[in-house]
Assembly symmetry: none
DNA sequence: ATGATATAATAGTCAAAGAAAGTCAAAGTT
DNA sequence: AACTTTGACTTTCTTTGACTATTATATCAT
């Protein structure tokens, strides 16, 4: 598994117990034997506002990175999410969303997987490359609208 | 025997033990002393949904190609369907299939509906009108081999 | 004590380098 | 003609590092 995925998982594990995770960037980088900015990469690709994570941090002595998730209930989450899904949805970001949907019980694992497959680049191979992310976004939005 | 056939056989051998094979394109190319794109050729000509395979991949560091197999024999019904889904799948025909799937307990109603919405013309609005049926066909085939 | 300044300890940014896989068309085989 | 092999070029995602920005603490002058 990729380093970034490991770090993501490590952080996500905290959320099983907690609403909020506070970490020291350099410590974490140390634990995973990487440069500190790798942590920023993971956060900016996986702990995104669209999924209800918000991140605050402080530099200097005693600095920290705090990741919180807004604890929406299921129906609030659903009504919010459509607006937040941007016009462009990459395969990778879709994955991040789908994991979240499973967490919120919007889709079960099996269905999420079907959606993942249906909207994959492979399935969309015949769609113009530059339109794929647009189409994916439309599809996901339609799915969500329909669930409501 | 042709190189492509050798590679095909090599991959198929894994399936004797396993339902899923994950490989590194460049490693495999190396083992067979060929260019990496040869692997793509083998996959795209032999590991296709029509034959019960579902393929997914990822680029970048830690990338991979994952091939999953569905035992089409397990269900004559399904393999028939895949054969029947031609290159072109209209919205209407999709509906027919989906109803069948529900009847045969392959998908539950809710999931079938999600698929219906995801593959609808509305979701595919940004896809060239003349390509929609092609895309729909690819999507459904991938879904089918994936769910079994 | 007080305020000013330096120093150390953090975190952030951004672009380049790296590590895969994908595409496509030309050339080669059968 | 159909299928296979090859390779140059593209795209996607990750890792790294040099440089910047911010904050806390220590030190120094008054």
């Amino acid at each position: 598994m990729k380093l970034s995925d490991l770090i993501e998982q490590y952080i996500l594990d905290f959320f099983k117990e907690n609403e909020m995770v506070e970490l020291k960037r350099s410590e974490l980088a140390n634990k995973f034997n990487c440069v500190p900015s790798q942590i920023n990469y993971v956060i900016s690709t996986r702990f995104i506002p669209e999924l209800g994570f918000y991140v605050e941090s402080r530099r200097g002595g005693g600095g920290y990175i705090k990741i919180c998730r807004t604890n929406l209930n299921r129906s609030d989450y659903i009504s919010d999410i459509i607006d937040k899904i941007s016009q462009n949805l990459s395969q990778t970001t879709l994955d991040v969303y789908l994991n979240d949907f499973v967490r919120y019980n919007i889709l079960n694992k099996k269905t999420a997987n079907i959606v993942r497959v249906a909207l994959s680049d492979k399935s969309l191979a015949k769609v113009d490359k530059y339109d794929r992310d647009l189409v994916r976004s439309d599809m996901l939005k339609n799915i969500i609208v329909n669930i409501i």
